[in-house]
Symmetry: C2
Amino acid sequence: MTEAALRPQSLSEPIEDTAVTRSLSVTDRIRTAVLSGEFEPGTRLHEVRLSERLGVSRTPIRSALQSLASEGMLDYTPNRGYSVRRFSTSEIVDAYEIRAVMEALAARFAAERGLPEAERAAIERVLAEGDVILANAELGEDERLAYSAVNATFHEAIHSAARCRMLGDMIRVCHSVPHSSHRNVISFEHMDVRRRHDDHHRIYDAILACDAYRAEMLMREHVASVKTSLVRALSGRPLSRRGR
Amino acid sequence: MTEAALRPQSLSEPIEDTAVTRSLSVTDRIRTAVLSGEFEPGTRLHEVRLSERLGVSRTPIRSALQSLASEGMLDYTPNRGYSVRRFSTSEIVDAYEIRAVMEALAARFAAERGLPEAERAAIERVLAEGDVILANAELGEDERLAYSAVNATFHEAIHSAARCRMLGDMIRVCHSVPHSSHRNVISFEHMDVRRRHDDHHRIYDAILACDAYRAEMLMREHVASVKTSLVRALSGRPLSRRGR
DNA sequence: GAGGCTTTACTTGTATACATTATCGCTTGA
DNA sequence: TCAAGCGATAATGTATACAAGTAAAGCCTC
């Protein structure tokens, strides 16, 4: 994969044709733009304006918007077009709950089906890396970012070990919800991170021991606890004025 | 809603323009055709052929195929097109497992959030209808179809009572898997149907009592037990030669 | 005859023109 | 003054022509 494919392009630059089709590269760029908050929730995405900004015709734009709407990131109304989906606080919280049961099921599948060698190695590596990072008394910005990557890799390895395409697809959809991604450990306290890293160790042990029930239960609590932290953090400063 | 919108059109008839857009009506018709088994799994869906059969241009066809692929019903390869997704036996079984945790979460949300009046009435109605149908010692074809509708309405009422769009979307995706729809109670034994109807009563009681844990647990077992019946029924005659 | 290259038919990807629908301001009448 | 209706404008929906990619047949070479 080329470097250009890894680095998302700004919406202002013209398209670089590294992806297989224009539709796919446009999809990635609009997705990145929405996730990074470049468009306010509720903003309408006009096909012609986007096509002018990206230097492609409306055809790949329409295709991209349709994809992103089916990922749950945009709203669509026939004959009216697409707009950036607005997530209420309760929807964000619900997304954690959904993610919790899905990831718990993935952990259970992994325990039932056995951990493939590649995933076992990946998990052991990131568990060790996490141990090193958390040996520090305090976490700087670099350490937090590094741990965020470690966390993401741990979870992805388990999704992959579940060997279930539909489950993987659904978990991916959960990540189009703002504040609901694996990379959001950054925002919480040091003790929370320690505890979650310990969860990772236990989940790995349960999967290795083929203890499906324990793996599922631990993973569910692991993800759901992030929801609790989020609710606690939000209680002072509401995230959305439209929350229920 | 007009009658024409309710009755799916055959793929041979030309489009009747009752839906909002051609793309949407084409999507419904291809979805129905695939679910009814009109196309073998693995069959490629050529854009021009479909557009000739349906009497529309390639544009709405492409849009429809993209939608159905994102629902998980078709496979897509860039520059190669769409084909009917082939589900292995294990994928079908996994889909029940996924549906079980999702519907269980829906039941829990319904219990936590309280049953709106409309859903409460709908559930009581179908519970009573089910009681009447199952009063017969034996079930004829008509009774089975009637109970199938009752079953579907019960589950849909709970999805709606969960008041969570993302959850509803995901449960809908589960129904694009063959043999994984609410309407499949037909294929099982009378005693199984009785037991499942009793489950419905208990789930309703738990939700009314705001017993979130019990509602979730009962619903999970309720859906997962269908998986067990399916596996048992399949053990003699394998459904797919590609099952794991 | 086997393997690889070239060509050709066919399919999908993209651009663009046209059709249809929604929106919003204006006019007109009560 | 307000409401309803009309029309202009601008957006999305659809059709179609062309570009680009894929796959399979045929040819050539070894």
